[in-house]
């Protein structure tokens, strides 16, 4: 009854790919393009994303006709884990590469694919996720933003909120109600649209978070026109599509590697080793991260094989997020060899920032309260 993750190993091509990404990251660092940060996948940096596009690090699994390299999900896995481990600012292409692009590849029209996919691969076209609303978070099926059919397309009205990078992105795949809500069939009548956020009627406002950064935003739709070609999949099939998208959103290494740069900064600062505290905390982090990494590889392989790892993804995310919240808390017990060194100061600043930032890890992309319900269903309890 307990959930098993089939063992999966990286293909032989992974090594060369890893070497290539490390060389790219070293060059970027030496050029002063970024400072490592935790949760680099939420840091929106168009210049860095264009550099990633030029280096061939976006859309790796996609068809060659859209600029992709037709590589496997496991090969893509190597690239994204290296970018995350380095704390690189990959937020501008993260969502497009991880879920919006794949969603459009599977369910988008030819016209939409041609419009956005080559640009994503070049690192020029960026996406945001349009799920949460002021009154709809975990209960996503209760969204009230709506689409009305008009000549040649749809008109969208409503509001999305907590949208990471929404004030900066070019497009959003949003979930809208296209039929009146029916309490008997809550998941019916929803449709996904790819919306160009530069269209007339879209108003965007960044929301400052408690760390002092404008990472997320509120987006208002006031009679925004979207052509028929920008409907994702079938009208009314939005719930099935959005839950399929969530398996991509939840199963990646960003759900446990967000705080990895903090461990690197600690090693750079140099922990005191005259008591076992540093060894035990570092070793515990290694044990948990290594096990999670095996699970994430397993999910990547399952996605490659066309499987639906929605429950595994929920499990992986809940476990990974819990660890990401624990690591900064537990590292507070570790003392440094030279507390006055610049490396120690840099580590402490990163620790302080991560403690606060970690508050969001169990909120974004599905809360433990929702994920554990999904796991319980997988166990046969619901």
């Amino acid at each position: 009854m307990s959930l098993a993750f089939e063992s999966a190993d990286l293909p032989p091509s992974a090594h060369a790919l890893r070497t290539k990404v490390r060389a790219f990251l070293r060059a970027q660092r030496e050029a002063g393009a970024y400072e490592p940060r935790c949760s680099g996948w939420t840091v929106f940096d168009r210049a860095f994303t264009r550099a990633c596009g030029e280096a061939g690090l976006i859309g790796l699994t996609w068809p060659a006709r859209w600029g992709g390299q037709e590589r496997s999900t496991l090969e893509r896995y190597v690239v994204v884990e290296e970018l995350l481990a380095a704390g690189a600012p990959v937020g501008a292409h993260w969502i497009a590469d991880r879920q919006s692009g794949p969603q459009i590849l599977r369910h988008g029209s030819d016209a939409l694919q041609a419009e956005v996919l080559p640009g994503i691969v070049r690192g020029e076209v960026t996406f945001a996720i349009g799920m949460s609303e002021p009154d709809s978070g975990s209960d996503l099926a209760s969204v009230r933003s709506r689409g009305e059919r008009v000549e040649g397309g749809w008109r969208l009205t409503g509001r999305k909120v907590w949208t990471t990078g929404g004030h900066l992105a070019d497009y959003m795949i949003g979930l809208f109600r296209t039929e009146p809500a029916d309490v008997q069939r809550r998941h019916a009548g929803l449709t996904q649209f790819a919306v160009d956020l530069r269209t007339a009627g879209v108003t965007r406002r960044p929301i400052r978070n408690l760390c002092g950064r404008d990472d997320f935003s509120e987006i208002t739709f006031d009679d925004v026109f979207v052509p028929d070609s920008h409907v994702i999949g079938q009208v009314g099939d939005g719930w099935r599509l959005v839950t399929g998208e969530l398996a991509f959103e939840r199963s990646g290494p960003e759900r446990f590697l967000s705080v990895f740069p903090l461990l690197v900064a600690l090693l750079r600062a140099g922990p005191r080793d005259d008591t076992p505290v540093a060894r035990i905390e570092l070793g515990r982090a290694v044990a948990h991260l290594a096990a999670l990494r095996r699970m994430a590889l397993s999910v990547a392989a399952k996605l490659d094989a066309g499987g639906d790892p929605a429950t595994e993804a929920a499990l992986l995310k809940d476990l990974g997020n819990a660890l990401e919240r624990e690591i900064p808390e537990r590292l507070r017990a570790v003392r440094l060899r030279d507390p006055a060194s610049p490396q120690s100061a840099a580590y402490r600043a990163l620790l302080d920032d991560t403690v606060a930032d970690a508050t969001s890890y169990t909120l974004r992309g599905g809360t433990p309260e929702v994920l554990r319900g999904m796991i319980a269903r997988g166990l046969g309890l619901r």
Binding site: L3, F5, D273, R284, A287, L319, L381
Partner: protein, 310 residues
Amino acid sequence: MSAHESMIADAVERMFAEAMPSRGVDTTLWATLVEAGVPRLLRPESQGGAGDAWRDAAGVLQAAGRHAASVPLADTLLAHALLAQAGLDADGRPIRLAVAGPDGRPDPADADALPGAHRLVLQPWGEAARCIWMESDGAPAYEFELPDAPRVRARLALAGASMLTGALRTAIDMGVEYAGLRKAFGRPIGQFQAVQHPLAVAAEDVAASRAALDWAAAGLETGGSSGEVAAAVAKARAAEAAGRVAAIVHQVHGAIGFTAEHALHRSTRLLWHWRDRWGDEHDWHALLGARALAAGPQGLFDLLDGVESR
């Protein structure tokens, strides 16, 4: 088993399933295992084993953990692997493998009587592993050293992780089953979120332990440092999970699970026992942490893949 289908593990699982719960060593079951050559599994093929068949061994010991089998199979299986390395043989009697902790605390199993058993005392925490071999018929003790202590430690870790992971799987299965049967306030308690969510957390721990174990068993068969790191990860992960999962499934079972009569404690006692044997999670965390310190900021990520690039 998941990735590796083990016919041996399946066969042994059937032997355990057919055995009756027993106080002390189940001598009938032991005789069946010996007849099938199971305790010699890790000896070379020329001695009736399958060589470094660590995936089979992990499967067999997981089965022992799942069924809380009343036989000292992990001890004997490992002892045969170590004795074979030193060119020593032993008969079919059980072997107690006594491994003190890195701080010198005795192996918790040392307090359990194992009548007629041979005894292998092992100190694996230094550069070389020191062994004392004591046969049960009173022959003089024989001391020897195995040169590659990290590999010896990895084998211990894998065996312990296998026992724990098997017991973890039974514990979560029992917790889920009981939550579906027991009714309170007019419905099965498994329908309450307050019960569902802790069981989900327990399932996460079990899944992570299984994933780490599969990785470690494959790594030990390949050889090299990646198997050593993976085995340490597997034991640390399962040992940490053991306490949490035991607490959750007992809470779900309520008072009935606290009785001597109920079968739950056969699994949870195994969890508490094996998390402490052959290095607990704190020992293995410290060993992994030492590797992390040695790897440094540049090498830390490769350590997650079991690679040590210094």
